[in-house]
């Protein structure tokens, strides 16, 4: 429609000439637009000031990397404009066209024109919400950048205006500004992206890859802005839709599926300078990659080593290695304490006080896991407030001093920590984990309240050790009230078997009740999973071909996913061939599920691939089979066990990577800390 407005060829030529000037200057500056012939033709020109179009294209090189960057900038604009509904439409993953439609506040005609100029809006109209740098840190660069490398059409209308404004821009030049009819809000239509930067165009990835970037992007945005409705269409297919909800858990469900959402535990941590909230999955839900972990700082998706490491440490005892829990973690921090202008796309951030962020995240996750049903309720109560978990770590000290002065605690602390200190696990956690990668900031005054009461802080003269100490203590607290880690198993004594079902045991700190079936199941599961991964690595997956190929009728979205992931399915043992439309033929299935409802298993996998397009793993058949097998082989409820058998089982269990839950996610052990028992019998406390 707007093609008719201006003749294209002369324009292109004009742009081309502009480009020549750009390249021979830009190249030495490090902007790699390697047009060698223009370089050689112009050996010694004088230094000139870049024209605006050129400057925009340079900026575009940084900000607009791929179609999804366009989507990101435009959707963030929409969010800043107060939209409650954002719709994104892509053609060929955005390579051919991108439409972003919102119902936000819109722009006046003058503003819209101005917005296309670099730096104009952010500086001059700081009162204007749209480009307020405090919202999503928009620097006024994105829109002109996009405009400079594409055919852009903007249709925008404010509620108070009678007519909408339509602006057509090509390669950064405004072609026309007209009045038109449109609903309130703004629509951006981007076409022929990178038409004038062939190098960039050439390096675009395949459509599925680029599409994944866009889907991931919208997933993250809907997690961060759970009240906003998002919709992503690709070539007419609905790839993602989220209606917006007051409860952020709905966004989690939309992004990772309802089953995952059900296994999420809310987390919350507050301190004067920062707060952490969000959701983390129980250890029973985990992924092979980190793609299902989303971390946000002040509503902006970031990759932060500090946060990731703090998160991992909190999970260390619970997760099998190479598995990552699902999480959506939101850190709200005073803007002056974080620097977002590290990276052009603002994916990386720097914290003024790394240590604070680290301990906040660590505590938030740890508390969430302890209160969220992972470790059963008997021990939840004492561990709830951060201060109490400190007292808890001193389970070894004389009861009466537990709640008394911190001066006393300080004296006792070294003793309490001695058994942990020489162990490699504890050292890795406290020493390497803390002090090495995250050089501790000077003892913080903005430190969370809980820390200030920490004994290590006051007693230790050297700040670095002060930073390491509390964490070590926290780790110690963690393991001591579960009473069950590598160091302490030697002192675990089996006392009896109850109802031929539960093993009664005690540690130095607690009385334990262990479900024998679940414990054995966990042991067998981990032993077999190790075997299975070995086998899989050496010989691959064995697929059983079908005499009667089974047909699978799928929903359009599922069909597209299967089409794209056929190779991955095959690697998992499912050989699937398209059979026209949304129908597929299953030619072979993994031998481990051949005698089970293999179509059900396959459907489950497909569903998972659709709902969680970020989870790119297909180990399910193996794992499902192993879980089933381990459940069948394990000792049952009601089987009497000898003392030797029970001791062996607990020794094996202690070696497991996750001795706390069975593969189905049920708890293995209940712990009644001695302290808690003493309190219940009124041996300590107020009486």
């Amino acid at each position: 429609m707007f093609r008719g407005l201006s003749p294209r060829p002369p324009l292109l030529k004009e742009r081309g000439q502009g480009g020549e000037a750009l390249f021979d200057l830009a190249f030495p500056l490090g902007y790699n637009k390697p047009v060698t012939e223009t370089l050689s033709q112009t050996p010694g020109r004088a230094v000139v000031l870049l024209d605006e179009n050129t400057a925009n294209r340079i900026a575009a090189g940084e900000v607009i990397e791929r179609p999804s960057s366009v989507v990101k900038e435009l959707v963030e604009n929409a969010l800043d404009a107060g939209a409650t509904r954002v719709e994104v439409e892509l053609r060929e993953a955005g390579k051919r066209g991108i439409v972003v439609r919102d119902n936000g506040c819109g722009m006046s005609r003058d503003d819209a024109v101005l917005a296309l100029q670099r730096h104009a809006t952010s500086k001059i109209r700081s009162a204007d919400d749209l480009f307020d740098i405090r919202t999503l840190g928009f620097r006024g660069e994105a829109l002109p950048s996009i405009a400079s490398v594409s055919d852009l059409r903007i249709v925008t209308k404010r509620a108070e205006d009678d007519a909408a404004t339509e602006i057509v821009v090509r390669g950064g030049d405004i072609i026309s500004v007209t009045e038109t009819g449109a609903p309130d809000g703004t629509t951006f239509v981007v076409e022929n992206l990178f038409f004038n930067t062939p190098a960039r165009l050439k390096f675009l990835k395949t459509t599925p890859t680029e599409l994944n970037h866009a889907v991931d992007l919208l997933h993250r945005l809907s997690l961060a802005y759970h009240r906003i409705a998002f919709r992503l269409l690709h070539d007419g297919y609905e790839m993602f839709t989220y209606p917006g909800a007051a409860d952020p858990l709905h966004a989690v469900a939309a992004v990772w599926g309802r089953d995952t959402a059900r296994e999420m535990v809310p987390l919350r941590y507050e301190s004067p300078a920062l707060s952490v909230r969000g959701f983390v999955s129980k250890p029973s839900v985990s992924k092979a990659t980190r793609t299902s972990q989303a971390m946000f700082v002040n509503g902006r998706y970031v990759r932060s080593r500090t946060m990731t490491h703090a998160f991992d440490t909190a999970f260390k005892h619970l997760m099998t290695t190479d598995r990552h829990p699902v999480c959506a973690l939101f850190l709200d921090i005073a803007p002056e304490l974080v620097d977002v202008n590290v990276h052009p796309t603002k994916i990386e951030v720097r914290f003024t006080r790394d240590g604070d962020v680290y301990s906040a995240v660590h505590h938030a996750v740890q508390d969430a896991l302890l209160t969220g049903g992972l470790v059963p309720e008997v021990i939840v109560q004492p561990s709830l407030p951060a201060t109490n978990s400190r007292a808890e770590s001193n389970g070894l000290m004389p009861p009466r001093s537990a709640l008394s002065s911190y001066a006393r605690t300080e004296v006792e602390l070294p003793e309490a920590l001695t058994p942990l200190a020489p162990s490699p696990g504890a050292a890795g956690e406290g020493g390497v984990g803390m002090s090495a990668p995250f050089s501790p900031s000077p003892a913080g005054d903005a430190r969370p309240a809980a820390w200030e009461k920490g004994p290590g802080d006051e007693g230790n003269p050297a700040p670095p050790a002060g930073d390491g100490r509390p964490l070590l203590g926290a780790g110690g607290a963690d393991t001591s009230y579960i009473g069950f880690d590598g160091q302490r198993i030697g002192r675990l004594r089996v006392l009896a078997q109850s109802r031929n079902t539960y093993i009664v045991a005690e540690t130095d700190d607690a009385l334990l009740l262990i479900d024998q079936h679940i414990a054995h199941e966990r042991v067998l599961y981990e032993q077999m999973m190790n075997g299975v991964t070995d086998t899989a690595a050496n010989w691959g997956v064995v697929a059983q071909h079908l005499a009667l190929p089974q047909t699978l009728h799928l929903a359009p979205r599922e069909a597209r996913v299967v089409e794209e992931r056929r190779e991955a399915l095959a690697r998992a043992g499912f050989i699937v061939e398209p059979f026209g439309g949304e129908t597929f033929v299953v030619r072979a299935v993994p031998a481990v599920v051949a005698n089970k409802d293999y179509l059900g298993v396959l459907r489950g996998i497909i569903e998972e691939m659709v709902t969680a397009s970020v989870a790119r793993r297909l180990l399910v058949p193996h794992e499902a089979a192993v879980i089933m097998a381990s459940c069948k082989m394990a000792v049952k409820k009601g089987d009497p066990l000898t003392l030797e058998e029970m001791t062996r089982l607990l020794t094996d269990l202690a070696k497991m990577k996750n001795p706390f839950t069975c593969p189905h996610g049920r708890p293995i052990l209940l712990s009644l800390p001695h302290r808690e028992m003493d309190r219940k019998f009124h041996r300590i406390g107020p009486h």
Binding site: Q544, H545, A547, L548, D597
Partner: protein, 375 residues
């Protein structure tokens, strides 16, 4: 009614029909047996509403005055009744219902029981079977047929149609087909007497019962009707519901050509597979079969157990080949083939193979095996 018969006969009959008693049901009557006089015999019936089993045994019947007529009987809980008969001494058992009602008195030697039952009218009557086809097979042939296909029946309840055996009767030939989508067994036989034509899918459980009930000497009459089938085996009648639905087009699965043909000695092959399976068990039962000149090498390996290599003699037509099968599927079919030799017809490593017997009845049986593939 009063009836008398040897304890042993009654015990056997009760055990026979007891197979149809429902294990768990919300209908209490289904856990009972119906015992009714019929002329000079006692007729025992049990059902779980999927399968009805009737068995008659000769007895001395004395109708009492308050009996309303022929067929009036009583019910007794199957488990108690069976256990009681198993414990009684080997003498004549006298069943009596002096006061009518639902209580039966059992007298045997110096033992007296009063067993509480449920009203006989509550017992569900077997459905009327109006056959569209009836044919008779010697027990030996029928048992053989069932054995040849039963192992291939699917146990996956999500595809119910495959949990049964397809029975096709046409002209003078009867065919049984079973598949679990990984293998397919087809067995044909010629019928001495029969009329009509019909196709039915009989639940594997019913087929198992036929296999158990029929002796080689019996002549079994099979009547196929809409929704049900009846098997008359000696003095026992079994009626079963059929599985509804369309059985997959099995003929399309059977390869019509082959470029390689391996001739093997059945016992030797079966033994080699059995030995290889010990290791294969740990790796999805995968056994690799590879020809090396006049030798056939069977091998299997596992990450946790180790590996195995077996060599047997083979007569080969066509090129060398390497193909992998599920050891259990090979064992299943080799376990039912009774001929001295078998042939394995193959095309390519990822195409189906066919195992057939050699010699007598070579054309009557085949088993299609789908290969395994490592990805």
């Amino acid at each position: 009614m009063q009836a008398m018969c040897p304890r042993k006969d009654l015990y056997e009959a009760v055990q026979t029909v007891g197979r149809a008693v429902s294990g768990r049901s919300t209908l209490p009557i289904l856990s009972h047996l119906l015992v009714a006089p019929q002329g000079n015999t006692l007729k025992l019936t049990a059902t779980d509403l999927e399968m009805w089993m009737e068995c008659s045994l000769p007895a001395r019947i004395q109708a009492s005055l308050d009996d309303t007529g022929d067929g009036e009987g009583f019910t007794a809980p199957a488990r108690v009744f069976t256990e009681m008969l198993g414990a009684l001494p080997d003498m004549d058992v006298q069943l009596d219902r002096p006061e009518g009602g639902n209580t039966v008195q059992v007298h045997c030697g110096r033992s007296d029981y009063k067993i509480l039952g449920l009203p006989a009218e509550e017992f569900p009557a077997p459905p009327d079977v109006t056959p569209t086809a009836t044919f008779t097979l010697p027990g030996e042939v029928l048992r053989d047929m069932i054995r040849h296909v039963l192992f291939a029946v699917s146990t996956d309840e999500t595809r119910v149609i495959l949990t049964g055996v397809l029975l096709i009767f046409e002209g003078d030939s009867v065919k049984m087909v079973a598949t679990d989508t990984h293998r397919l067994a087809v067995r044909t036989a010629t019928v001495a007497a029969g009329d009509g034509s019909a196709t039915a899918v009989v639940p594997a459980r019913a087929m198992n019962e036929v296999l158990r009930l029929a002796t080689d000497e019996d002549a079994v009459t099979i009547s196929l009707a809409q929704g049900q089938a009846r098997f008359d085996i000696g003095g026992t009648t079994m009626v079963t519901r059929l599985i509804e639905g369309t059985f997959p087009n099995y003929e399309r699965v059977i390869p019509t050509t082959h470029d390689r043909k391996l001739t093997l000695e059945t016992t030797e092959f079966a033994r080699a597979v059995r030995r290889a399976a010990i290791v294969a068990r740990d790796n999805a039962n995968r056994v690799v079969i590879e020809t090396e000149g006049a030798q056939l090498v069977l091998s299997a390996e596992s990450g946790t157990v180790g590996s195995v290599r077996e060599e047997i003699e083979v007569a080969r037509e066509g090129d060398d080949i390497q193909i992998a099968f599920n050891a259990k599927y090979l064992q299943d079919v080799l376990g039912v083939v009774e001929t001295e030799g078998v042939v394995l017809e193959l095309t390519e490593p990822l195409r189906p193979g066919i195992l057939r017997p050699i010699g007598d009845g070579a054309d009557d049986y085949l088993c299609v095996l789908m290969p395994m593939q490592v990805i």
